[in-house]
Amino acid sequence: MNVAIVKYNAGNICSVVNAMRRLGVEPLVTDEPEKLMAADRVIFPGQGEASSTMAYLRERGLDEVIRSLRQPVLGICIGMQLMCRHSEEGDTECLGIFDAEVKRFRPQCHADKVPQMGWNTIVDTRSQLFKGFRQPEYVYFVHSYYVPMNEHTAACTEYTRPYSSALHKDNFYATQFHPEKSGQVGERILQNFLDLTL
Protein backbone atom coordinates (compact mmCIF):
# COMPACT_ATOMS: atom_id res chain seq x y z
CA MET A 1 0.00 0.00 0.00
CA ASN A 2 1.12 3.52 -0.92
CA VAL A 3 0.96 5.82 2.10
CA ALA A 4 1.97 9.45 1.68
CA ILE A 5 2.61 11.81 4.57
CA VAL A 6 2.20 15.52 3.88
CA LYS A 7 5.56 17.25 4.33
CA TYR A 8 5.18 20.77 5.72
CA ASN A 9 6.53 23.07 8.45
CA ALA A 10 5.11 21.12 11.37
CA GLY A 11 6.91 19.00 13.94
CA ASN A 12 6.34 15.37 14.87
CA ILE A 13 6.22 13.95 11.35
CA CYS A 14 8.95 11.40 12.04
CA SER A 15 6.81 9.81 14.80
CA VAL A 16 4.18 9.02 12.18
CA VAL A 17 6.82 7.59 9.84
CA ASN A 18 8.02 5.34 12.68
CA ALA A 19 4.46 4.26 13.51
CA MET A 20 3.80 3.31 9.87
CA ARG A 21 7.03 1.29 9.77
CA ARG A 22 5.92 -0.59 12.89
CA LEU A 23 2.80 -1.56 10.92
CA GLY A 24 5.00 -2.79 8.08
CA VAL A 25 4.39 0.15 5.72
CA GLU A 26 7.18 2.35 4.33
CA PRO A 27 5.52 5.76 3.90
CA LEU A 28 6.55 8.51 1.50
CA VAL A 29 7.00 11.96 3.07
CA THR A 30 6.31 14.46 0.31
CA ASP A 31 4.95 17.89 -0.60
CA GLU A 32 4.63 17.05 -4.30
CA PRO A 33 0.96 17.33 -5.36
CA GLU A 34 1.13 14.46 -7.90
CA LYS A 35 2.58 12.06 -5.36
CA LEU A 36 0.02 13.02 -2.73
CA MET A 37 -2.82 12.61 -5.20
CA ALA A 38 -1.53 9.23 -6.39
CA ALA A 39 -1.21 7.68 -2.91
CA ASP A 40 -3.68 5.10 -1.54
CA ARG A 41 -3.71 6.86 1.83
CA VAL A 42 -2.64 10.34 2.86
CA ILE A 43 -1.70 11.31 6.42
CA PHE A 44 -1.67 14.98 7.40
CA PRO A 45 0.08 14.97 10.79
CA GLY A 46 1.85 17.52 12.86
CA GLN A 47 2.42 19.65 15.84
CA GLY A 48 2.63 23.38 15.37
CA GLU A 49 0.91 26.72 15.16
CA ALA A 50 -2.13 27.29 12.93
CA SER A 51 -1.35 30.55 11.09
CA SER A 52 2.26 29.75 10.13
CA THR A 53 1.45 26.18 9.02
CA MET A 54 -1.58 27.36 7.04
CA ALA A 55 0.50 30.11 5.35
CA TYR A 56 3.09 27.50 4.37
CA LEU A 57 0.42 25.20 2.87
CA ARG A 58 -1.09 28.10 0.86
CA GLU A 59 2.27 29.26 -0.50
CA ARG A 60 2.85 25.81 -1.97
CA GLY A 61 -0.70 25.24 -3.14
CA LEU A 62 -1.02 22.30 -0.75
CA ASP A 63 -4.31 23.69 0.63
CA GLU A 64 -6.02 23.03 -2.70
CA VAL A 65 -4.35 19.64 -3.04
CA ILE A 66 -5.49 18.42 0.38
CA ARG A 67 -9.06 19.65 -0.18
CA SER A 68 -9.22 17.85 -3.53
CA LEU A 69 -8.05 14.44 -2.29
CA ARG A 70 -10.45 11.52 -2.89
CA GLN A 71 -8.63 8.68 -1.11
CA PRO A 72 -8.83 8.21 2.71
CA VAL A 73 -7.06 11.11 4.44
CA LEU A 74 -6.14 11.16 8.13
CA GLY A 75 -5.42 14.47 9.86
CA ILE A 76 -3.67 14.30 13.23
CA CYS A 77 -3.59 17.03 15.92
CA ILE A 78 -2.80 20.34 14.15
CA GLY A 79 -3.62 18.47 10.93
CA MET A 80 -7.18 17.95 12.20
CA GLN A 81 -7.47 21.59 13.30
CA LEU A 82 -6.26 22.83 9.91
CA MET A 83 -8.95 20.72 8.23
CA CYS A 84 -11.61 22.82 10.01
CA ARG A 85 -13.04 26.13 8.79
CA HIS A 86 -11.33 28.60 11.11
CA SER A 87 -9.03 28.56 14.14
CA GLU A 88 -8.87 31.02 17.01
CA GLU A 89 -5.12 30.40 17.02
CA GLY A 90 -3.77 33.39 15.11
CA ASP A 91 -7.32 34.06 13.80
CA THR A 92 -6.61 31.67 10.92
CA GLU A 93 -8.78 30.72 7.95
CA CYS A 94 -8.21 26.99 7.54
CA LEU A 95 -9.03 24.37 4.89
CA GLY A 96 -12.77 24.20 5.56
CA ILE A 97 -13.14 20.46 5.02
CA PHE A 98 -15.04 20.21 8.29
CA ASP A 99 -17.45 23.05 8.95
CA ALA A 100 -16.21 23.67 12.48
CA GLU A 101 -14.46 26.39 14.46
CA VAL A 102 -11.28 25.63 16.47
CA LYS A 103 -11.33 27.24 19.92
CA ARG A 104 -8.89 27.68 22.77
CA PHE A 105 -9.41 25.74 26.02
CA ARG A 106 -10.47 28.06 28.81
CA PRO A 107 -9.59 26.63 32.24
CA GLN A 108 -12.59 26.30 34.55
CA CYS A 109 -10.40 25.93 37.65
CA HIS A 110 -6.71 25.94 38.63
CA ALA A 111 -6.46 22.18 38.09
CA ASP A 112 -7.39 22.60 34.39
CA LYS A 113 -4.07 23.03 32.67
CA VAL A 114 -3.59 24.26 29.12
CA PRO A 115 -2.31 22.51 27.06
CA GLN A 116 -4.07 19.31 27.91
CA MET A 117 -1.16 16.90 28.03
CA GLY A 118 -1.52 13.19 28.68
CA TRP A 119 -3.90 10.26 28.37
CA ASN A 120 -7.64 10.78 28.20
CA THR A 121 -10.53 8.59 27.04
CA ILE A 122 -12.44 8.67 23.77
CA VAL A 123 -16.14 7.78 23.98
CA ASP A 124 -19.12 7.61 21.62
CA THR A 125 -16.85 6.51 18.80
CA ARG A 126 -18.61 6.28 15.47
CA SER A 127 -16.30 5.79 12.55
CA GLN A 128 -14.48 2.88 10.91
CA LEU A 129 -11.32 4.24 12.56
CA PHE A 130 -12.59 2.80 15.83
CA LYS A 131 -13.76 -0.52 14.47
CA GLY A 132 -13.67 -3.17 17.19
CA PHE A 133 -13.70 -0.66 20.07
CA ARG A 134 -16.14 -1.73 22.77
CA GLN A 135 -15.24 0.48 25.69
CA PRO A 136 -13.76 3.93 26.29
CA GLU A 137 -10.07 3.72 25.40
CA TYR A 138 -7.21 5.95 26.51
CA VAL A 139 -5.27 7.86 23.87
CA TYR A 140 -2.51 10.48 24.09
CA PHE A 141 -3.28 14.20 23.71
CA VAL A 142 -1.17 17.36 23.57
CA HIS A 143 -3.18 20.43 22.60
CA SER A 144 -4.33 23.89 23.66
CA TYR A 145 -7.09 24.30 21.05
CA TYR A 146 -10.10 22.05 20.52
CA VAL A 147 -12.94 21.43 18.09
CA PRO A 148 -16.42 21.66 19.67
CA MET A 149 -19.00 18.90 19.17
CA ASN A 150 -20.50 19.12 15.67
CA GLU A 151 -22.22 17.05 13.01
CA HIS A 152 -18.88 15.44 11.97
CA THR A 153 -17.85 14.40 15.50
CA ALA A 154 -16.59 10.80 15.39
CA ALA A 155 -15.36 10.55 18.99
CA CYS A 156 -15.87 12.62 22.10
CA THR A 157 -13.49 13.48 24.95
CA GLU A 158 -14.03 15.53 28.06
CA TYR A 159 -11.55 18.21 29.14
CA THR A 160 -13.02 21.33 30.71
CA ARG A 161 -16.00 20.43 28.42
CA PRO A 162 -16.98 17.63 26.02
CA TYR A 163 -15.35 18.20 22.61
CA SER A 164 -14.57 16.40 19.34
CA SER A 165 -11.53 14.15 19.69
CA ALA A 166 -12.12 12.75 16.19
CA LEU A 167 -13.96 13.89 13.06
CA HIS A 168 -15.17 12.11 9.96
CA LYS A 169 -16.75 13.31 6.73
CA ASP A 170 -16.69 11.34 3.47
CA ASN A 171 -13.06 10.30 2.83
CA PHE A 172 -11.68 12.69 5.48
CA TYR A 173 -10.82 11.37 8.96
CA ALA A 174 -9.11 13.23 11.75
CA THR A 175 -7.99 12.73 15.33
CA GLN A 176 -7.08 15.41 17.86
CA PHE A 177 -4.97 12.86 19.77
CA HIS A 178 -1.78 11.23 18.54
CA PRO A 179 -2.48 7.63 17.47
CA GLU A 180 1.24 7.26 16.71
CA LYS A 181 1.96 7.81 20.44
CA SER A 182 -1.08 6.03 21.87
CA GLY A 183 0.35 2.55 22.42
CA GLN A 184 -1.53 -0.47 21.13
CA VAL A 185 -4.84 1.41 20.94
CA GLY A 186 -3.23 3.94 18.63
CA GLU A 187 -1.79 1.20 16.46
CA ARG A 188 -5.26 -0.32 16.06
CA ILE A 189 -6.60 3.05 14.92
CA LEU A 190 -3.81 3.45 12.36
CA GLN A 191 -4.33 -0.12 11.15
CA ASN A 192 -8.07 0.56 10.84
CA PHE A 193 -7.22 3.61 8.74
CA LEU A 194 -5.05 1.50 6.43
CA ASP A 195 -7.82 -1.12 6.22
CA LEU A 196 -10.60 1.36 5.31
CA THR A 197 -12.83 0.63 2.38
CA LEU A 198 -14.64 3.63 0.97
Partner: protein, 251 residues
Protein backbone atom coordinates in the same frame (compact mmCIF):
# COMPACT_ATOMS: atom_id res chain seq x y z
CA UNK B 1 -10.91 12.46 32.59
CA UNK B 2 -7.21 13.10 32.13
CA UNK B 3 -5.31 10.21 33.73
CA UNK B 4 -2.47 10.53 36.24
CA UNK B 5 0.71 9.32 34.58
CA UNK B 6 3.24 6.72 35.71
CA UNK B 7 6.67 7.46 34.30
CA UNK B 8 9.64 5.09 34.57
CA UNK B 9 12.96 6.92 34.27
CA UNK B 10 16.03 5.36 32.73
CA UNK B 11 19.47 6.81 33.38
CA UNK B 12 21.74 6.12 30.44
CA UNK B 13 25.51 5.90 30.41
CA UNK B 14 27.37 4.78 27.28
CA UNK B 15 24.14 3.41 25.83
CA UNK B 16 23.22 1.34 28.90
CA UNK B 17 20.71 1.83 31.72
CA UNK B 18 22.05 2.66 35.15
CA UNK B 19 20.47 3.94 38.34
CA UNK B 20 22.08 5.87 41.12
CA UNK B 21 21.16 5.97 44.77
CA UNK B 22 21.37 9.55 46.00
CA UNK B 23 23.02 10.38 42.65
CA UNK B 24 26.05 8.10 43.22
CA UNK B 25 26.75 4.32 43.26
CA UNK B 26 25.53 3.41 39.79
CA UNK B 27 24.24 -0.12 39.17
CA UNK B 28 23.73 -1.71 35.71
CA UNK B 29 20.11 -2.42 34.75
CA UNK B 30 19.73 -3.50 31.14
CA UNK B 31 19.23 -2.45 27.56
CA UNK B 32 17.38 0.90 27.32
CA UNK B 33 15.24 0.07 24.28
CA UNK B 34 14.25 -3.36 25.54
CA UNK B 35 13.50 -2.02 28.99
CA UNK B 36 11.48 0.89 27.58
CA UNK B 37 9.44 -1.46 25.44
CA UNK B 38 8.79 -3.74 28.39
CA UNK B 39 7.55 -0.77 30.42
CA UNK B 40 5.37 0.39 27.56
CA UNK B 41 3.79 -3.07 27.30
CA UNK B 42 3.20 -3.12 31.06
CA UNK B 43 1.30 0.15 30.86
CA UNK B 44 3.83 2.91 31.51
CA UNK B 45 2.31 6.17 30.28
CA UNK B 46 5.53 7.86 29.29
CA UNK B 47 9.25 7.25 29.56
CA UNK B 48 12.13 9.52 30.51
CA UNK B 49 15.67 8.81 29.31
CA UNK B 50 18.42 10.80 31.01
CA UNK B 51 21.87 10.84 29.44
CA UNK B 52 24.40 11.00 32.23
CA UNK B 53 27.41 10.62 29.93
CA UNK B 54 29.55 13.73 29.85
CA UNK B 55 31.71 13.13 26.75
CA UNK B 56 31.13 14.31 23.21
CA UNK B 57 31.38 10.69 22.00
CA UNK B 58 28.69 9.75 24.53
CA UNK B 59 26.33 12.37 23.09
CA UNK B 60 26.51 10.74 19.69
CA UNK B 61 25.81 7.31 21.19
CA UNK B 62 22.81 8.79 23.00
CA UNK B 63 21.41 10.40 19.85
CA UNK B 64 21.66 7.04 18.07
CA UNK B 65 19.88 5.47 21.01
CA UNK B 66 17.08 8.08 20.81
CA UNK B 67 16.61 7.12 17.16
CA UNK B 68 16.27 3.44 18.12
CA UNK B 69 13.84 4.26 20.94
CA UNK B 70 11.66 6.35 18.58
CA UNK B 71 11.57 3.56 16.03
CA UNK B 72 10.52 0.96 18.59
CA UNK B 73 8.40 2.59 21.27
CA UNK B 74 4.80 3.72 20.70
CA UNK B 75 4.30 5.96 23.73
CA UNK B 76 5.72 9.45 24.35
CA UNK B 77 9.23 9.80 25.71
CA UNK B 78 11.32 12.64 27.09
CA UNK B 79 15.09 12.89 26.86
CA UNK B 80 17.40 14.93 29.03
CA UNK B 81 20.99 15.40 30.08
CA UNK B 82 23.57 17.70 28.55
CA UNK B 83 21.11 19.93 26.70
CA UNK B 84 22.68 23.39 26.62
CA UNK B 85 21.42 25.08 23.51
CA UNK B 86 18.74 25.07 20.87
CA UNK B 87 20.83 22.93 18.51
CA UNK B 88 20.89 20.13 21.13
CA UNK B 89 17.09 20.28 21.30
CA UNK B 90 16.81 20.22 17.53
CA UNK B 91 19.15 17.20 17.31
CA UNK B 92 17.15 15.18 19.88
CA UNK B 93 13.70 16.11 18.52
CA UNK B 94 14.89 15.27 15.00
CA UNK B 95 16.04 11.89 16.30
CA UNK B 96 12.44 11.32 17.43
CA UNK B 97 12.15 12.44 21.06
CA UNK B 98 8.77 13.95 21.99
CA UNK B 99 10.06 16.26 24.70
CA UNK B 100 13.36 17.43 26.10
CA UNK B 101 14.18 17.99 29.72
CA UNK B 102 16.57 20.81 30.62
CA UNK B 103 18.02 21.47 34.03
CA UNK B 104 21.32 23.22 34.78
CA UNK B 105 21.32 25.03 31.43
CA UNK B 106 17.98 26.65 32.27
CA UNK B 107 19.24 27.88 35.63
CA UNK B 108 22.38 29.26 34.01
CA UNK B 109 20.52 30.87 31.11
CA UNK B 110 16.75 31.00 31.67
CA UNK B 111 16.16 32.45 28.16
CA UNK B 112 16.75 28.92 26.84
CA UNK B 113 13.22 28.09 28.03
CA UNK B 114 11.72 30.95 25.96
CA UNK B 115 13.78 29.87 22.96
CA UNK B 116 12.68 26.23 23.11
CA UNK B 117 9.03 27.17 23.65
CA UNK B 118 9.21 29.71 20.82
CA UNK B 119 10.85 27.38 18.31
CA UNK B 120 9.28 24.04 19.11
CA UNK B 121 6.30 24.81 21.34
CA UNK B 122 5.84 24.68 25.11
CA UNK B 123 4.78 21.04 24.98
CA UNK B 124 8.33 19.85 24.20
CA UNK B 125 9.95 21.83 27.02
CA UNK B 126 10.22 20.04 30.36
CA UNK B 127 12.22 21.89 32.99
CA UNK B 128 13.77 19.61 35.60
CA UNK B 129 14.37 21.14 38.99
CA UNK B 130 16.56 19.47 41.62
CA UNK B 131 15.95 20.97 45.03
CA UNK B 132 16.81 20.42 48.67
CA UNK B 133 15.15 21.66 51.81
CA UNK B 134 17.19 23.49 54.43
CA UNK B 135 16.20 25.67 57.37
CA UNK B 136 16.07 28.55 54.90
CA UNK B 137 13.50 26.72 52.75
CA UNK B 138 13.66 24.88 49.42
CA UNK B 139 16.54 25.75 47.08
CA UNK B 140 17.65 24.66 43.61
CA UNK B 141 20.87 22.81 42.82
CA UNK B 142 22.97 22.45 39.67
CA UNK B 143 24.90 19.58 38.06
CA UNK B 144 23.01 16.65 39.49
CA UNK B 145 22.79 18.25 42.89
CA UNK B 146 26.41 19.15 43.45
CA UNK B 147 26.25 22.94 43.24
CA UNK B 148 23.85 25.08 45.31
CA UNK B 149 22.43 28.08 43.47
CA UNK B 150 20.68 29.99 46.21
CA UNK B 151 17.65 30.14 43.90
CA UNK B 152 14.37 29.50 45.74
CA UNK B 153 12.40 26.53 44.39
CA UNK B 154 8.98 28.19 44.17
CA UNK B 155 10.26 31.45 42.75
CA UNK B 156 12.20 29.54 40.05
CA UNK B 157 9.19 27.32 39.30
CA UNK B 158 7.01 30.41 38.69
CA UNK B 159 9.64 31.87 36.38
CA UNK B 160 9.90 28.56 34.47
CA UNK B 161 6.11 28.58 34.11
CA UNK B 162 6.03 32.21 32.92
CA UNK B 163 8.81 31.68 30.40
CA UNK B 164 6.73 29.04 28.64
CA UNK B 165 7.85 25.62 29.91
CA UNK B 166 5.33 22.84 29.30
CA UNK B 167 5.99 20.82 32.45
CA UNK B 168 8.08 20.81 35.60
CA UNK B 169 9.93 17.67 36.69
CA UNK B 170 10.60 18.24 40.36
CA UNK B 171 13.13 16.06 42.18
CA UNK B 172 13.56 16.37 45.91
CA UNK B 173 17.19 15.43 46.42
CA UNK B 174 16.58 14.63 50.08
CA UNK B 175 14.03 12.01 49.02
CA UNK B 176 15.77 10.67 45.92
CA UNK B 177 16.94 7.08 46.20
CA UNK B 178 15.91 6.59 49.81
CA UNK B 179 12.39 5.21 49.12
CA UNK B 180 10.54 6.97 51.92
CA UNK B 181 7.96 8.73 49.77
CA UNK B 182 7.82 11.85 47.60
CA UNK B 183 8.15 15.43 48.93
CA UNK B 184 4.38 15.87 49.05
CA UNK B 185 4.20 19.24 50.82
CA UNK B 186 6.55 20.88 48.35
CA UNK B 187 4.70 19.18 45.47
CA UNK B 188 1.33 20.47 46.63
CA UNK B 189 2.68 23.98 46.93
CA UNK B 190 4.21 23.74 43.44
CA UNK B 191 0.85 22.61 42.05
CA UNK B 192 -0.75 25.71 43.55
CA UNK B 193 1.95 28.08 42.34
CA UNK B 194 2.18 27.04 38.69
CA UNK B 195 -0.38 26.37 35.97
CA UNK B 196 1.58 23.66 34.14
CA UNK B 197 1.76 19.93 35.00
CA UNK B 198 4.18 18.85 37.72
CA UNK B 199 5.93 15.47 37.60
CA UNK B 200 6.92 14.18 41.03
CA UNK B 201 10.33 12.56 41.27
CA UNK B 202 12.48 11.15 44.04
CA UNK B 203 11.37 8.91 46.87
CA UNK B 204 9.14 6.17 45.44
CA UNK B 205 9.41 3.03 47.54
CA UNK B 206 5.87 1.67 47.87
CA UNK B 207 2.57 1.91 45.99
CA UNK B 208 1.20 4.13 48.78
CA UNK B 209 3.92 6.66 48.00
CA UNK B 210 2.51 7.06 44.48
CA UNK B 211 -1.01 7.48 45.86
CA UNK B 212 0.22 10.18 48.24
CA UNK B 213 2.07 12.04 45.47
CA UNK B 214 -1.22 12.25 43.54
CA UNK B 215 -3.62 12.86 46.42
CA UNK B 216 -1.49 14.91 48.83
CA UNK B 217 1.11 16.26 46.40
CA UNK B 218 -1.47 16.94 43.66
CA UNK B 219 1.09 15.77 41.09
CA UNK B 220 0.04 15.14 37.49
CA UNK B 221 2.59 12.38 37.01
CA UNK B 222 4.96 10.38 39.16
CA UNK B 223 8.40 9.28 38.06
CA UNK B 224 10.49 6.47 39.50
CA UNK B 225 13.42 4.31 38.48
CA UNK B 226 14.79 1.58 40.73
CA UNK B 227 11.44 0.34 42.12
CA UNK B 228 10.52 -0.45 38.51
CA UNK B 229 13.94 -1.57 37.26
CA UNK B 230 14.40 -4.12 40.03
CA UNK B 231 10.82 -5.33 39.91
CA UNK B 232 9.92 -4.13 43.39
CA UNK B 233 6.72 -2.59 42.02
CA UNK B 234 4.99 -3.82 38.87
CA UNK B 235 3.23 -1.18 36.80
CA UNK B 236 0.01 -3.23 36.32
CA UNK B 237 -0.27 -3.86 40.08
CA UNK B 238 0.49 -0.21 40.80
CA UNK B 239 -2.25 0.94 38.45
CA UNK B 240 -4.79 -1.51 39.89
CA UNK B 241 -3.95 -0.25 43.34
CA UNK B 242 -4.24 3.43 42.37
CA UNK B 243 -7.58 2.67 40.78
CA UNK B 244 -8.88 1.23 44.07
CA UNK B 245 -7.77 4.47 45.71
CA UNK B 246 -10.01 6.48 43.40
CA UNK B 247 -7.17 7.78 41.22
CA UNK B 248 -7.79 7.96 37.47
CA UNK B 249 -5.15 5.94 35.61
CA UNK B 250 -4.91 4.47 32.11
CA UNK B 251 -5.41 0.68 32.13
Amino acid sequence: MLAKRIVPCLDIKDGQTVKGTNFVNLRQAGDPVELGQAYSQQGADELVYLDITASHEGRKTFTDLVRRIAATINIPFTVGGGINELSDVDRLLSAGADKVSINSAALRRPELIDEIAGHFGSQVCVVAIDAKQTEAGWHCYLNGGRIPTGRGLFEWAREVNDRGAGEILFTSMDHDGVKTGFANEALARLADEVSIPVIASGGAGTMEHFRDAFLLGKADAALAASVFHFGEIGIPELKSYLCTQGIEVRR
